[in-house]
Amino acid sequence: MDEILNIRGISKKYEDLVVLDHLDLQVRSGEVVVIVGPSGCGKSTFLRCINALEKVDDGEVILDGKVIDPQDKHLSKVREKIGMVFQSYELFPHKTVLQNLVLAPVRVKKMNRKEAEEEALRLLERVGLLSKKNNYPRQLSGGQKQRAAIVRALMMNPEILLLDEITAALDPEMVREVLEVVLDLAKEGRTMIIVTHELPFAKAVADRVVFIDGGRIIEEGEPKDFFEHPKTERLRKFLHSFTYE
């Protein structure tokens, strides 16, 4: 399988605090990489560096063989190819669900509005939100908002999808409806990098799990090995913190 994303030695500091310390990660097309780690370990920052929402101090991110330059005037062209879903949904409150979905395809991809709407309706149906197409975000539950936000990212047909703790703000009973959408996307062969705290979900969806702590990759591996036979003490401790034995 061919590699679509290559992250080489990226580092990031906030004043004196080292958040990312020479991180490397390669992602192949169709692969689902799940990143886990304690709060404040730098995993969200790592995700935000990939589409240049944060500027890296060192290292580079290479997408499709091309280095992403945060200074690039045409950065938005690159971001078209990288979808991102945020913890706090970030739907646009002044637009209906449908308007939220077609904004970027019409403005950025110059897609015909009618075609964009058809595509949007098709995807909304898939995630069970067709009846909400003319509702405003405020009229949706958290789970519905997050499903709409995923569809909004999908509308651009990105080569890779970044999911940043997308269930962290949800009530427990809504987590499942969102994660099922993500599982579905994984089955369909979407390339994704997922930051999450839902370990059982990570186990189910991941091709590879990466453990980050203190801005470094401590351990990575296939889900079965990763969760059942952790090699490092730090990962063992981290996994243990989720159990009550």
């Binding site: 929402l53 938005s76 971001r79 409150p93 002044h94 904004l103 970027a104 950025v108």
Partner: protein, 219 residues
């Protein structure tokens, strides 16, 4: 209260009312234009210009309209620039209001969370598209309560126009009290016409605010 006096006064007040409303709303229109331009300049940190605008806002927010009008109307002509009382009223109200409107627009632009900008940019929107498609429409709705408050404030401020001899409602009241001594009737009509001028605006403002709140927060 003497009804004959009231009906005798009515046309005089009506005329003054129209003048006050005209100058008031032209001034408000000007203030919104100034406010939007100023807020943009400050939001985008346009070099030099944003400092000048910042100074303008501070100066006009920290001085009374009456003093501003006196300076514009009696002071500026001494430099050889003659301005009619009406223009002076519109410009004065526009400058005062512009400084308030600028603050209203600027702070609502600043109140849009950065994450909204990020999510738009993550979708591939350029910064110009992000501003016009996402930030501006949201800020516009957010600024409604402050703009409504400013409009009411500015309409009330029109009451000082009489000081630069514009024949507005206050001028008429003072004039009639001086001429006929029917103080009760004169003051009554004054209050009635200010009610006519402001109650509809206040009511419309409340509806607008409610709508904006619903649009933004759904409550």
């Amino acid at each position: 209260m003497d009804f004959d006096v009231l009906s005798f006064y009515f046309p005089k007040y009506a005329e003054a009312f129209l003048l006050t409303v005209r100058i008031g709303w032209l001034g408000i229109f000007l203030s919104i234009v100034i406010g939007i331009v100023s807020a943009f300049v400050i939001y985008f940190r346009v070099p030099v210009l944003s400092r000048l605008i910042g100074a303008y806002v501070e100066i006009f927010r920290n001085t009374p309209l009456l003093v501003q009008l006196f300076f514009l109307y009696f002071g500026i002509p001494k430099l050889g620039l003659n301005i009619s009382a009406e223009t002076c009223g519109i410009v004065g109200l526009g400058l005062l209001g512009g400084s308030y409107m600028s603050e209203a627009f600027r702070s609502s632009l600043g109140a849009i969370p950065n994450s909204q900008k990020e999510s738009a940019e993550a979708l591939g929107l350029t910064s110009v598209q992000t501003f016009f498609q996402v930030i501006l429409p949201e800020a516009w709705v957010l600024s409604v309560p402050a703009v409504v408050a400013n409009v009411i404030f500015l309409l009330k401020e029109t009451s000082v126009f009489s000081a630069i001899s514009l024949m507005d409602l206050m001028f008429t009241a003072k004039d009639l009290i001086g001429l006929y001594y029917d103080t009760t009737e004169a003051l009554f009509m004054l209050v009635v016409f200010y009610i006519i001028m402001l109650v509809p605006v206040s009511a419309a403002g409340s509806i607008l605010e409610k709508r904006a709140r619903y649009k933004m927060f759904g409550e």
